[in-house]
Subunit: 294 residues, 2 copies
């Protein structure tokens, strides 16, 4: 893997951190709530979704700061979903990325409200973005709400919880991931291209690319839970096997999971060629994320 | 009190129930999540906020179905806030309006996600409302996100929780209620008038009216917790006194609370006269809600 893509990722991370810091102004927000929101927002996330949005925009457009606030809003939604996911009633996690989870550092009520606040704030940020026309804002808000709501991410969370007690087949497992992580990844890529004024046909191919990329991300997560280095991952491994969760390796075996991933990579690659983005950072990110060890 | 206002309220309730039913389509939403969302959405709420929005619109405009979807979105946000508020980590309530709370009927994880889903869905509804121009949608989304986010309702929830363990003075108590309930009530009234193309000056007076109306609603809640009929209220009374909460009667005595309410009513009335809405249903609603026994 070239150093170039690692540098691109690192620069993207720094950019989105800076944008988020400018965006999330504590003025008129009760102090404790603000602390809880920013605790999780700056807890060392991979910033995958904003970086994908940047790469998608740059494949077709030339004014990257047009997408900054949309990317920040998206990262806030991702962060809220992690805070709620970690709650005792959900995954009951004490640590995330080596830090105490929000409800462990603060308390459950504050964590619930910090999540609610980040979700709500994300729509305000887009509605107030002076880089976008009102037509663009409405399109983006519609897409983001759809991707993160009951037909998207939140729907996926429910199915994921159901999948913990029922065993799923490959098709059902793909459906869970398509909603739970795929929809927001698709939003990142589609909204980047939309704001760069890519054609409908191009966006159609990117949608297909994004769906496979989401699945690749998930299968790699599952593989890392077996073969990964807890140090690099910042979390213990082996938890999926322990709790009999529906995962790719539990369903297909570890080799079957790797073969499945390679099929997804091939299909994602093809879709990207059709979207005429084969020389973009999206292609590098595809291979980088499919091989990631963290 | 005239029967007329009671009929207006009843018709408004029926209208918003019908709009909500049309709005919340279970297609592509996981079944269990959909059941949980609709369980709380149709649990017999007073529909105060939509009714205020209707009255505010009708004081200045003639095409009431223009506000229906905005009113539905607002009611969804109110409903999500009740679901999260009732959670064990928050108020830990088992019943609301005589029915099991969402997390008691379903489970905590589902209740958290149903709240998240309703919140997210509300922005999608506005962004997709074919009765509004894109300029109107952006204004409405901006106002609604602001009113319900960390500088609004969610901020008020945090302050309310803090107020349960610290005693607040009158000014601090007003601040909690201004954020926790006042901001959404203000949104209802302001957005109704905005969509009816009322002038900026009028909206300014309505904002003042709405702030007092929110406080009136709260002080009456506090009074009913002492003097109300549990049967009519659908919940036990006396809980505020038990847990030493900061309330108007705990702060001012029951007579002081009633005097305070009368002052608010007078100021709200004046603001409504300035907004040239003295012959509107808003005026009737002011007196109706300040005397309500449920």
């Amino acid at each position: 893997m070239s150093n170039c893509i690692e540098q691109y990722i690192e620069e993207g991370k720094q950019t989105i951190e800076r944008v988020l810091k400018n965006m999330i102004d504590g003025n008129a927000i009760p102090k404790y709530l603000y602390e809880s929101m920013t605790y999780s927002l700056f807890a060392g996330g991979k910033r995958l979704r904003p970086i994908l949005m940047f790469a998608s925009y740059e494949a077709y457009g030339h004014n990257i700061n047009k997408v900054y606030k949309t990317a920040a809003a998206l990262e806030m939604i991702h962060t809220y979903s992690l805070i709620h996911d970690d709650l005792p009633a959900m995954d009951d996690d004490d640590y995330r990325r080596g830090k105490l989870t929000n409800h462990k550092h603060f308390d459950e009520a504050t964590a619930i409200l910090a999540g609610d606040a980040l979700l709500t704030k994300s729509f305000e940020i887009i509605a107030s973005d002076d880089q976008l026309t009102n037509d663009e804002k409405v399109f983006i808000i519609q897409q983001l709400a759809n991707a993160s709501g009951p037909r998207g991410m939140v729907g996926g969370q429910i199915l994921d919880i159901e999948g913990e007690t029922n065993s799923l087949n490959l098709h059902q497992l793909e459906k869970v991931h398509e909603l739970k992580t795929g929809k927001l990844i698709t939003f990142a890529i589609v909204s980047g291209a939309y704001l760069a004024k890519a054609s409908e046909q191009t966006i159609h191919h990117l949608q297909e690319f994004a769906q496979y990329l989401g699945l690749i991300f998930q299968v790699q997560d599952d593989i890392l839970d077996i073969e990964g280095d807890p140090e690099k991952l910042g979390k213990p491994v082996g938890s999926d096997a322990d709790n009999q969760k529906s995962t790719y390796p539990n369903l297909l075996g570890i080799d079957g999971a790797k073969q499945q991933k390679e099929q997804y990579v091939k299909k994602a690659n093809n879709a990207l060629v059709l979207a005429k983005a084969n020389n973009s950072y999206l292609m590098d990110l595809l291979y980088y994320f499919s091989e990631r060890d963290y």
